[in-house]
Symmetry: C2
């Protein structure tokens, strides 16, 4: 089977899985729902047909094992997630699982066994849509699942424990927080994923190897000034919280533009008691800062905090600044990165290395084993949207790269 | 009776009227409601006791007439409105009516008649809370009422026509759009009102004479860029609509600060599909611009439009700009202003002239006759809020000024 035919199969399977949705007119597939169950069962059928033994773990991850030449060999983990956001695209997560599946399917078709086993895994939850807690699947896989999460309730009041039970899993806290692996048994975890950004498109390249997953800080801040009548308070007597917020938004953009690799975003801005004829008295903002170098990100946080303080002082307002989330950078394994680079070269494509600004299952898997990722170009960098799209020829390249990668590892 | 005692009476009456509310725990008094009816009846009692003939017009304005020395004399109109916003203060509008009432009451107590008649009027609607159409009372008074408004419905589906009928008025379009006055019969309309701004407090002055009511433009604008993932789109590939909006907010503030008397406000800002990890793709803003000189205001509009265009072009976004409302400046009558200035001097206070940034009944009354206004200091410039407050001694000054004003007019 040509890489082209395999890519066509992957595209078809992404289309098929997109039909398993909780909503009639769009793709929404949350953790432990009937839609998830149906998608998993479809996937399990494909795993079996590709010569793999299928296993559902306690939280609902689906795992297909392709045995090594000999018992006792190490295992290479490949995968991504099958859950989606609300009104999702059909490739985020799913593409990576399908590319891993088809690579094993190609080995199986050739009757080829490797000096290591391969497990293809589809995580039951990465997006965290149902319980607002991401990475549920990979945390159970790595033994880092927090049993306190079992008490969380979804929008209908169903606890996570009940959802797991109803789904056919086992909400036993001990089982969920124990890894089925020792690190020493593993060769690593590799994940193919759409880029979710515009860089590959801008560079006109099909794939890139990922250097690491950028650390991230989320901050909630607000400026409090004084509400006032838009017609009667002279400019110099105003304490306009929106003008302060605007100054901060510009400062965030200017700093991020000045520092290579830094991204900083104000995505939310809310004016309390907003009206066209009222001077804003209180404005709340979100701030998201990411960089692959934690020290640079932390320095940026500090600079922006000082800028916000300066704005507060100059405008005689009150600043509130709350760090609500902080994740450190996860570095991909240099040996696995190098193997991916060689595999990309082998397909005749230039090698581009990117940092991932988005989080992925690989973040959690890095607690258990070495990780690596391959990004695939997606149209306009769009994701989390029905408009998500990939080119079949790019998928073909991704399959070829992953096959070269696996073959290379087998040689080493 | 001393000015101090008269001021005390005014404060007590404002307290009494604040009890007539549609809501138990706050002051809300909309057009043609039971609360408005009760407040009007209380006011009518006071008018009668002050020697005035009381008349309710077809739309529910209450008018007390204090006859002149001789029949056929001209008439001076004094007044403001008795309706309120939701969760209102007790002085906006009401104070001006009570000060006018007490001035006539003082004439009556002295048995004094003037070479002109005085009418004290309480408008039934200035705020426009019930039908989202302001100045209903004064437009009926001046014959500028638009009969199409009679078909508007309130939040309960009651048409304005039905509300006027139920209230005891007469929703006859012809009657509502005919003025009971010829301009030649009038000396002018004078309105005492709280400043609703902080200038008098900043200058430590009790009152100011108003030069005019500033013209105003309202604009709705938006920037459309591209939604994106906050972690994956590099700064230089972004089309962040919120950064564009922030740049515009700062440009608005900078322009208004650079031009004496200009006020410009962005009071509303809405990010479509806002999330902390999503680059804003579409942001809508309100813009309110006011200046006492229409040419300066129009020039400011043009400059800000060009700034928005520049931001659009530099950032490769799409700007939408809609002028939704435009009112020209209403100038107060120089002769009446001068009489107010002399009256303020007579009370031993420095004369300050202010432009009114807020709209008032005087805007509509200017279509019928010369207008003038006297502003009274209010605490913190706060209005449209239960915290609205005035000092009894400032009210005392306002009464003295209005009495001097009336006496002066009588001498001329």
């Amino acid at each position: 089977m040509s890489f082209h035919d395999s890519a066509h199969l992957v595209m078809e399977r992404c289309d098929i899985l997109a039909r398993y949705s909780e909503e009639a007119n769009c793709l929404t597939r949350r953790f432990a729902t009937q839609a998830m169950h149906s998608a998993n069962d479809m996937f399990a059928t494909w795993l079996s047909a590709a010569g793999m033994n299928v296993h559902y773990d306690a939280i609902g991850n689906v795992i297909g094992r392709y045995e090594a030449l000999q018992p006792g060999a190490k295992t290479l983990l490949l995968g991504s997630h099958l859950d989606t956001v609300q009104n999702a695209g059909r490739y985020d997560g799913i593409l990576g699982v399908m590319v891993a599946l088809v690579c094993v399917e190609r080995l199986h078709a050739r009757g080829e066994r490797l000096p290591f086993a391969i497990e293809v895994m589809a995580f039951a939850d990465e997006e965290g849509l149902r319980y607002h807690s991401a990475y549920i699947g990979s945390s159970a896989m790595t033994g880092t699942f927090d049993p306190a999460l079992l008490h969380l309730t979804d929008i209908n009041g169903v606890t996570m424990a009940d959802a797991i039970q109803a789904y056919g899993g086992n909400p036993d806290p001990k089982q969920l927080s124990t890894s089925r692996w020792q690190s020493t048994d593993l060769l690593g975890y590799c994940e193919v994923h759409i880029e979710q950004g515009p860089v590959l498109e801008a560079r006109n390249l099909p794939v890139a190897v990922v250097s690491g997953i950028a650390g991230q800080a989320r901050i909630k801040l607000s400026f409090t000034g004084e509400l006032g009548h838009a017609g009667t308070v002279p400019m110099l007597l105003r304490k306009d919280a929106l003008c302060a917020a605007a100054e901060f938004v510009i400062a965030v953009e200017a700093l991020a533009r000045s520092q290579p690799g830094l991204v900083a975003t104000v995505g939310q801005i809310d004016v309390q008691r907003a009206a066209s004829n009222v001077i804003p008295g209180h404005v709340a903002l979100s701030l998201d800062i990411r960089h692959q170098n934690d020290a640079i990100r932390e320095q940026a946080q500090q600079i922006l905090y000082e800028q916000a303080r300066r704005i507060q002082d100059q405008r005689q307002l009150v600043l509130d600044w709350q760090l609500t989330q902080e994740n450190h950078t996860v570095s991909c394994n240099p040996r696995l990165i190098h193997t991916f680079e060689q595999a990309i070269e082998a397909t005749g494509n230039p090698v581009l290395t990117l940092s991932s600004g988005a989080g992925h299952d690989a973040v959690v898997m890095s607690k258990l084993t070495d990780v690596a990722m391959l990004f695939v170009r997606c149209a306009g960098g769009i994701s989390h949207n029905p408009a998500e799209a990939v080119l079949e020829e790019d998928v073909s390249v991704a399959i070829a790269v992953l096959e070269h990668f696996i073959t290379d590892l087998a040689r080493k």
